[in-house]
Symmetry: C2
Subunit: 501 residues, 2 copies
């Protein structure tokens, strides 16, 4: 048996965090770069995590009255020209379709057919406010048609210069909610309700603590009146924007002419919102929980809760061990966790035990159970929790089965508590620019700084120099008088500042 390395992932977090991130993805078989610049292939284990995220979010959206629909992949170029701020922020780097046919190039290859040039170029959607807004304009006639609460699961493309798997890719998968309301208040309430829904999902499903807040002007979605976001802290103490919910005011309604007859008979513009989370969450999940042995999955999102590894030396032993493992699997699967049967994988591949075990460690399965002939004789199993590491415990089989749901719940809670602790340790209140600069010095660990501030170009300029960003103004922050650390002006409330992905 190959001697296990000191750590399954090389380099470790402290040695080279960005490279560690790539190696965890590789070790867990989550994704890989494709032959298309900036686009990744999401491999089965990574996609299964995304499916679990989708299933949960989809249930939450539907439980709050939203319905799924599907809108075109392409957006006519002229649609992007309508909302000035939106085009400024989005239309720049995108995939532009200009032809609808290929022909032989006369040299044994192909080329776009010059005679099949589109009259109007089409943009591969970077986000769908414009095309969905144009559709809503047809759907909305009267106040009786409102609210419209729609969600779409889709792929989008943004031509990013520097890409990193899951965190920033040219194509990514996401959901985008788009809603229309009769009043500003209702649209704002929707924006806030979705923020809370995202926070609930992040904390209770992903075990990833988040700060719920409002974006500063410079960080707002192009065209939005107000952008709310959830912000998480990764293990390198950088912040990750994990979901956004935008109150669009009447900006898009005016650009797309979404109008309705009000109860009093006037023709007025509607109020819209949009909101989304993406496959970026998988990057956030990784950087919240993974360790130097690879991925660590919170049970609620793990494609398998338990992996059973049979251990035997010959075919004689094999029969008994496999039979024992199969009955153990069936027993575990008859238990329920998080509203569904426990998910168990029995791995009987012809691989060396060490190699096989480390594959599952790197994939982050919450619980590993090894079973050999001696365990069977004693009615025991070798039981390992991925979140704890260390040597396996030898536990009574019956107890393991009986306690499985409780154990999974404990793991889910442990991961959350650990992430909260890490974040809290990296969180400070800062009251002067000097302290702020020291906290974010190149050789300092950094973290989350709560500071008084006044939003504006002066602050933005200083932040840019330090490569620090205003993450958000927490919505549950207490009002507190103070002085902006950047300008000295009077401030009412602290914001959160951090380096960010």
């Amino acid at each position: 048996m190959a001697k296990p390395p000191k750590n399954a992932i090389s380099p470790t977090r402290s040695e080279d965090y960005p490279e560690w991130y790539q190696q965890v993805i590789k070790g867990a078989d989550l994704a890989e770069n494709s032959d298309v610049r900036g686009c990744m292939v999401i491999k089965p284990w990574g996609y299964a995590i995304w499916e679990n995220m989708q299933r949960r979010l989809d249930d939450m959206f539907k439980a709050t009255g939203h319905e799924n629909a599907y809108f075109p992949l392409f957006i006519p170029m002229s649609f992007l020209e309508k909302e000035a701020e939106h085009v400024e922020g989005f239309a720049k780097e995108c995939a532009v379709v200009t032809h609808h046919r290929l022909v032989d190039n006369g040299q044994g290859g192909l080329m776009p057919d010059p005679s099949a040039k589109l009259e109007e170029p089409l943009i591969v959607r970077p986000t769908s406010e414009t095309i969905i807004g144009a559709t809503f304009a047809r759907w909305v006639q009267s106040y009786r048609d409102l609210p419209i609460l729609i969600n779409q699961w889709a792929n989008v493309v943004r031509w990013e210069l520097r890409t990193r798997m899951f965190l920033r890719t040219a194509e990514f998968l996401w959901q985008e909610g788009h809603t229309v309301h009769a009043t500003a208040e209702e649209a704002q309430a929707e924006t806030m309700a979705i923020l809370k829904l995202y926070a609930d999902f992040a904390e209770n499903t992903m075990a990833m603590p988040v700060i719920q807040g409002r974006k500063t002007a410079g960080e707002r979605f192009p065209g939005a009146v107000d952008t709310l976001s959830i912000e998480a802290m990764m293990q390198d103490r950088k912040a990750l924007q994990a979901g956004t919910s935008h109150f669009l005011g009447q900006n898009f309604a005016k650009a797309q002419e979404i109008k309705f007859q009000s109860e009093s008979g006037e023709l007025v513009h509607a109020w819209t919102t949009s909101w989304g989370v993406s496959t970026r969450l998988i990057g956030g999940l990784l950087m919240t929980h993974a360790d130097d042995d690879g991925l660590v999955l919170p049970p609620k999102l793990a494609p398998a809760h338990v992996v059973i590894l049979p251990i035997y030396k010959n075919d004689d032993q094999r029969g008994d061990v496999i039979a024992y493992c199969e009955s153990l699997k069936a027993e575990l699967e008859s238990e329920h966790y998080d509203g569904a049967p426990v998910r168990v994988k029995l791995d009987d591949r012809d691989l060396r035990g060490g190699e096989k075990k480390w594959q599952w460690v790197k994939r982050g399965v919450p619980i590993r159970i090894e079973v050999g002939p001696r365990d069977i004789a004693e009615g025991k199993v070798a039981f390992s929790r991925r979140d704890l590491g260390g040597k396996p415990e030898f536990l009574e089989r019956a107890g393991v089965v009986k306690e499985i749901a409780k154990t999974l719940e404990t793991i889910q809670q442990t991961l959350f508590d650990r992430a909260v602790k890490l974040r809290d340790e990296a969180t400070v209140e800062i009251n002067s620019l000097e302290e702020f600069e020291k906290f974010f010095a190149a050789d300092a660990p950094g973290g989350l700084a709560y500071c008084h501030f006044v939003d504006g170009p002066e602050m933005e300029a200083k932040l840019k120099k330090l490569k620090v960003t205003a993450r958000c103004i927490p919505i549950d922050g207490d009002a507190e008088s103070g002085e902006c650390i950047f300008t000295g002006a009077a401030s009412e409330r602290r914001g959160v500042f951090a380096r960010a992905y």
Copy 2:
């Protein structure tokens, strides 16, 4: 109350079948044309049907060992050049991305940035054999890596000249399976297993009878050695290809260099398959079951099994009626059909009763239950089955609840039996070209003709003139000596011929 029209859909099937199809889609609120040529918006009711199809198919794929993954939307143009037959069949009409940025055009608008022209154009995937094959070439090293059984849920784009919602759109949603095997036999077995899976889904979930068969050379997927398909017959007696499963031999493995070390140590090319069904199935579902009052949904795919419509004259009555309806809803939802709770909608919108009722008729909900004060007093409900039409029956509430699963099963079976009957009535054996021409004459009803044939250009030319196509050679057809009706040559087996979508 508005007097209901004789039929909810105008025109009827016999008056104008193609227009009836569009009007059923509109009446059921399934989809609409978008602002992008040939692309549709799938509305919530249509998308919910697609989600039910997806859920069922996905379970079936996973139960047979397949895993989901996700591959890039874009395909480098050079990838399409590699497989000659494939490019011939596919690369012609497609969306070509040539630029990655927009800039101001100096006239207040936008244009593709000439300085951001891609070195190599990208094609929006019309199907993913080439890009997935290139990935598989990296994944496959040894016979131990095989088989690879992957499925992808995705959008694809084919620049169709004439489009029709669901049946033929520029962008559509589908699943595409892609598998790699060590031997031809295993790949052929997979191709056949998927054909059976599709037929099972079509008949037992969609209640749509299908013929399982093998395509003639002219109807094969470009680059495939063998294409299997399921063929359904629509109510206008035209055939619809509802799903295909391709044995690709080593064609794509050679083009994409998918090679592996065999057990005996040789480096050999693998054998691949691909298979898919799409949102086209929704068009097939519609044309199998819908009638002149609109959509008729088989219970297994209906977003709602039962809709409850409360009827009251004033607020006094309202309280009692709604309470009764809500408790009825809860009782129905505690019953199970097809492995899950019965799906019930209570529609208390402020709309006139007739309008409301006809909306649900047109949407095809299998069961409608109307409840008014008199029904409550008698412990009854007004019960209507969408598949039967006619006036409601007044049934005991308790009995309706107790029998609900059985009733839904009966509806599912009734729809299937009805479709089988219609198909069988339109199916003939034809033994001469004269008969054949008569059967497919412009003013004849047409249908499915089982004929002896010899595949080849002579047959193709005659079929083209008649606008008839060879649908498939049924795999369960008996061997039977005969004469090709087109050429007189000896034939071993009959094929199915029909006009087709």
